[in-house]
Symmetry: C2
Subunit: 343 residues, 2 copies
């Protein structure tokens, strides 16, 4: 591995998919990370190669990704989809880089750690090759849930998501804006990126449905990855993933059923001290987690902490979360993994 | 009572709140109802009095509501909020009219029937005074749920809503449009009608929070009214009500836990035959209930019918609903009650 000893020399970092919605945020998270950076190599498709982008007061030129892109790189942050990760991550590892992969390509491979730094930093091995960055919903949900699980064992989760367009990429965000502008102007807008009209509309998550189960690919990821991150392969999870006309932060309504009776007050106290969590739970002002306030924030907002009245046993507590899909749900978590590796 | 024998003479109908979001839809539902209508008296605040509105090929002039507005009226459809209903419904009843009230003023009074015609028509008494039209979420949810409950007793519901702006009235719908247009133009738009920014944003339902429980008024209504409509005062209901940036149809993710094991196929078969329900459940095309397709429709769209994998007992089935809040959730249900009363 090319990894230098702690702070021994500046780190050379590659960003694969540097011009995508997550790639843009990775660049900004790197700028703000405080890491001692050497070369930052921005890689993308030949179509984007040659683009100049501002970075840390200077300017970087995007390069076309190929098998030879990783010479001298210590860490390669991939965010260009599963196909690109499967094709090029081996070359990055062979060149001596540690790969932090934001795609779903390797997440469920047993030997690959799936890491949320606040939740399972112990999953990072001493000599890592590829580390997987989890699905955005799984990251945002496990940050607060892990703080509860550490104290009171969770029996079951019931999750309904309100997911933003950003999860489907920059083109989906642009489609939401353009379709909405057209709607307001009384003009037609045939969907191009999404399967369904997006202006003032919502729909079941667009990932394909597993014909054996009726669950879509997003729901399957959230279930499998949440279990792996929490090291709870037995955890029962009910889930519905929905895409809503919101630009970049995901919201979730979650009921947490514990193995024992746990009060909402106890849950609130645990969350108040949880790393990566910010309580937004003002009953009098009706002020709770919202995507507009989660956008641009690294923390997961948590509120509406109350007894789940549908479970008369008293073992269930309901809550509402919102987290920035592009930041904690993707770019920030990847850079936080890098910071753990370095420091 | 002024009610004529079946079809003996044309019905005189008053609409209170005739210029509101629901009032507009009531007028259209009356036009399309096939009812033998005599006078249609449109009543509203003095501010709206004098407005001329088209009706059944002619034109009607909106009149100012007062205590003497109901002379000669057979049926008075109220949709102007609880305060107006409490103040004027007694005058309408005293004048011999049957009141169909879309507000929450009387819904939970034991002597007042709370009616969804497909669900509990038997609740309509022979000589009604006031009949309450339920909360929009409760109507849309109970249409399919009653078809299931009739065959397999329900133990528990877990409901997450995705509610449109129309539930907060015409001004909220306009605020959603205006706030979104401002956002797209890069302009500020301070919220006026809603408590929170609405452009590409969502938030916990704006009804006040009960400080004893943490539940908002909307959630309390849905729980209480669903129990009353289904005649299941013991029914356990978990609920989170959210307002999403959608104009006029409500969507819900619901998990239905039965007392016994029920297959998703059995649920689908029951719903295929249920009055007021239309299946939209195309797994291959990822085509499920959406608010844009529910808008303007009288039926409740139901799909994503699948085993709830979070309940290993096999007793729970998950589904997704969408229904037009202004039509089946309000105006259409009221006019359907009127149709049942007439004949």
């Amino acid at each position: 591995m090319n990894i230098p000893a702690h702070s021994a020399r500046p780190l050379n970092v590659a960003v694969v998919g540097a011009t995508g919605a997550v790639g843009v945020e990775i660049r900004q998270c790197l700028e703000e990370s405080g890491l001692n950076l050497g070369e930052v190599r921005l890689l993308a498709s030949p179509r984007s190669a040659g683009q100049k982008v501002p970075f840390a007061g200077g300017e970087l030129v995007v390069q076309a990704l190929d098998e030879n892109s990783f010479h001298g790189i210590d860490y390669a942050l991939f965010s260009a989809g599963s196909g690109i990760s499967k094709q090029y991550a081996p070359a990055a590892v062979a060149a001596g880089a540690v790969v932090i992969d934001n795609s779903s390509a390797f997440r469920m491979e047993e030997a690959i750690p799936l890491v949320v730094p606040e939740v399972n930093p112990q999953a990072i091995p001493a000599k890592p090759g590829v580390i997987a960055n989890p699905n955005c919903v799984a990251i945002i949900a496990t940050v607060p849930l892990a703080a509860l699980e550490r104290r009171h064992r969770i029996r079951r989760l019931n999750i309904a998501t309100y997911q933003a367009s950003s999860g489907a990429g920059a083109a989906a965000m642009e489609e939401l804006r353009a379709a909405t502008a057209a709607y307001l102007a009384g003009e037609a807008y045939p969907p191009r990126v999404m399967k369904h009209p997006y202006a003032f509309n919502l729909f079941s998550h667009d990932a394909g449905i597993n014909p054996d189960t009726g669950y879509n690919g997003e729901e399957e990821k959230v279930v499998e990855e949440t279990r792996k991150i929490l090291a709870r392969p037995d955890l029962a999870i009910s889930i519905t993933c929905m895409r809503v006309p919101v630009l970049r932060a995901h919201t979730m309504a979650i009921s947490v059923e514990f193995e024992e009776v746990v009060s909402p007050e106890a849950v609130k106290a645990l969350l108040a001290d949880a790393p990566g969590v910010r309580l937004v739970d003002d009953w009098a002002a009706n002020h709770f987690p919202m995507p507009n306030e989660a956008s641009g924030q690294g923390d997961v907002l948590v509120g509406r902490i109350r007894r789940d009245i549908g479970d008369p046993s008293g073992r269930s507590v309901a809550l509402l979360l919102a987290g920035d899909q592009l930041l904690k749900g993707a770019a920030l978590n990847a850079v936080q993994i890098l910071q753990r590796l370095v420091g």
